[in-house]
Symmetry: C2
Subunit: 381 residues, 2 copies
């Protein structure tokens, strides 16, 4: 039986939240879904089979990093990103737009696209909607993101409107470039990205423009850029109702566990964030009772696992004292164990949300989560 | 059935080489054996269960590193080194003597021991044979090494003789300190260390002194310190005949694959070296045709595994191009995969030697190994 290119099915609805499955050629994505970030063709400090074991159905790859090194053409010649990084399941790639603006030097934005200088060899590179589609096709992406401008925060209404309008023109060119990809387009999906800053009417206009063009899924971009959780939730409240119920909704770059819970309550289906992996490398562990800095000296004699309720390898086999020791000694295994733990925490969080929606008790579940998460470190010695 | 404290059985002899099993409470050690180094309570960039999967029967832990951080007392209170680092199989600990002299600052050697300054907090610490035995007991070591002075190279005959004589007095104090340990001594073993520099008669005298004291096994120390392979083999030729056939022989800190092959031919049963793990973190892969620098640009488009004959996760699932990319991008996964590969290479090397000795064809096997290893990189594109 041939698997579908893209079939999104909702199994249960609870308030504005829903749970279901997004079926694609390379596998099913259970929603709400959290996508670990594999920036440069690796989820840092993890073997991909272990990322899979945490419960991840899909990874995110960064077009900006991969186009510079090893280059999209090289990945293509080596069999595509799935083969290259040994992840046979779905991959979503971003468009490169966000990272060009946040990471590249000497960048210049025009109607055509963004020109920037490579930090690796100083070469000047033009990234356009068409080139972004080509790169994501060469990588072999399953879910391709339209090329957009992430509107900076804060921005005046006029700035946000102009930026959103440019992103909508680029969305049209992304759609055309993607469709021109032929065979690849037949096996993958294209998502549009709603912009408009913190202005509800601009968000509504952006959503309407994207629906006119037509995409497989709809992302909410330009959030988690400094506006704070309250304002982010307000923008979601004003944006999600303008998105079709039958397509998946993806909140880009979000976020902290409580951000995710609140966004799921507001109808979001997909998330990505570097927080669990990046925090893992800097010594922060996520637990049911909030984040814990494992470098803190109070852990140095503590024989208990990071979180008794967690089934990850770090919690099954090691003490807080050991993890603390590894971090103090700068040992790679410290980053490995904490990354694994944090990815498990995020996937367990998503499973809990999916189960709660299916059982029609999301409000209670979310309230329990928030109360426990705010309570602080588990069972202090 | 209770496992033996220490039972060394030789199953086959081929020339001066032998293969067998060293049975201890925590497990069997197949000899000749290679012991990966877990300096600070972790084999760097590896989960211990994956170290086990490579074929390792025993690890080495460093007394010097562990006594400074997290401290032997802390490891003891947390259940011992096996529990702390999640390695239930045998562990050999060194005495701290070698690393105090090579790593510590402001050190002073007297008859009593070595005083040095901790690089972590500047504290002045006195390490003696008695304290080394206590630390290794607190760690819960299975094979405890006598506290010695690793004679520097080069050294005059007088210098080497004086250094060896000091090590022999410390060997006696180590034996007494170990025996005073009571319960722990009942479950673990103590090895003496032959010193004497490059002087055959001093080596013979040192071996005789150690046999008078009596140890479970005998190590050859003070080699692989700059004297070169030819001289190292000459010292082994002059030393090993003075060691009892019924006890295991351990060549400390050795070495390169061809060093190990030559030492096995000369009757050595145990080895340890940081080379496979350290090289793995700096981009060097060991292969049947010699070491390969995976950072070299010639790998960047190579779809083949590091070594087709290797069954490790790096070779099963990834291209040379991918490993090269990870190293260039400074990704932790690069260190993880290459460490794993190199540890597999070393354990496969030992299995090949054990099989060849059992089959009575070690000379042929060693000649084949040397010819192939000197041939250079496998199948250049």
């Amino acid at each position: 039986m041939t698997r579908p290119r893209f079939a999104f099915e909702t199994h249960a609805v609870d308030g504005r939240a829903r749970t279901g499955v997004l079926a694609m050629r390379r596998g099913d994505i259970r929603t709400p879904a959290f996508m670990p970030v594999g920036t440069a063709g690796t989820v840092k400090a993890m073997l991909p089979e272990h990322v899979r074991e945490t419960g991840a159905d899909i990874l995110l790859g960064n077009t900006y990093h991969l186009m510079l090194r090893p280059t999209a053409e090289r990945v293509h010649h080596l069999g595509g990103l799935h083969t290259f990084m040994n992840w046979p399941h779905p991959i979503l790639t971003d468009s490169g737009g966000f990272q060009v603006m946040s990471l590249a030097g000497l960048r210049k934005l025009t109607e055509e696209g963004v020109t920037f200088q490579s930090h690796l060899d100083g070469r000047r590179i033009l990234l356009t909607p068409e080139r972004s589609m080509e790169i994501q096709r060469l990588l072999g992406s399953d879910i391709v993101m339209a090329f957009d401008e992430c509107t900076p925060y804060p921005a005046t209404r006029d700035e946000a409107a102009a930026s959103m309008a440019l992103s909508m023109r680029w969305a049209r060119r992304s759609r055309d470039g993607f469709d021109a990809g032929g065979d690849h387009a037949a096996g993958s999906a294209l998502f549009g990205i709603v912009q408009g800053g913190v202005y509800g009417d601009l968000r509504a206009q952006s959503a309407a423009d994207l629906l006119d063009i037509g995409f497989d899924g709809y992302a909410v971009g330009g959030l988690a850029v400094g506006e704070g959780q309250e304002l982010m939730f307000k923008v979601l409240d004003e944006t999600v109702p303008h998105l079709p119920a039958g397509a998946p909704r993806y909140l880009m770059g979000v976020g902290k566990p409580d951000d995710i819970v609140g966004a799921v309550e507001r109808g979001i289906d997909m998330f990505d964030c570097v927080l669990p992996t990046r925090s893992g490398r800097t010594g922060q562990a996520f637990t049911r009772r909030g984040p814990v800095n494992m470098k803190n000296a109070r852990h140095k004699d503590d024989p208990r696992p990071i979180d008794e309720a967690c089934g990850c390898p770090a919690c099954r086999s090691y003490s807080r004292a050991y993890v603390h020791h590894l971090l103090k000694a700068g040992e790679i295994l410290g980053a490995m164990l904490l990354t694994w733990h944090n990815l498990c925490f995020y996937q367990d969080l998503m499973q809990g949300l999916r189960d709660a929606i299916a059982a029609g008790r999301l409000a209670e579940h979310a309230a329990d989560f928030r109360a426990t998460y705010a309570a602080g470190d588990i069972d202090p010695v």
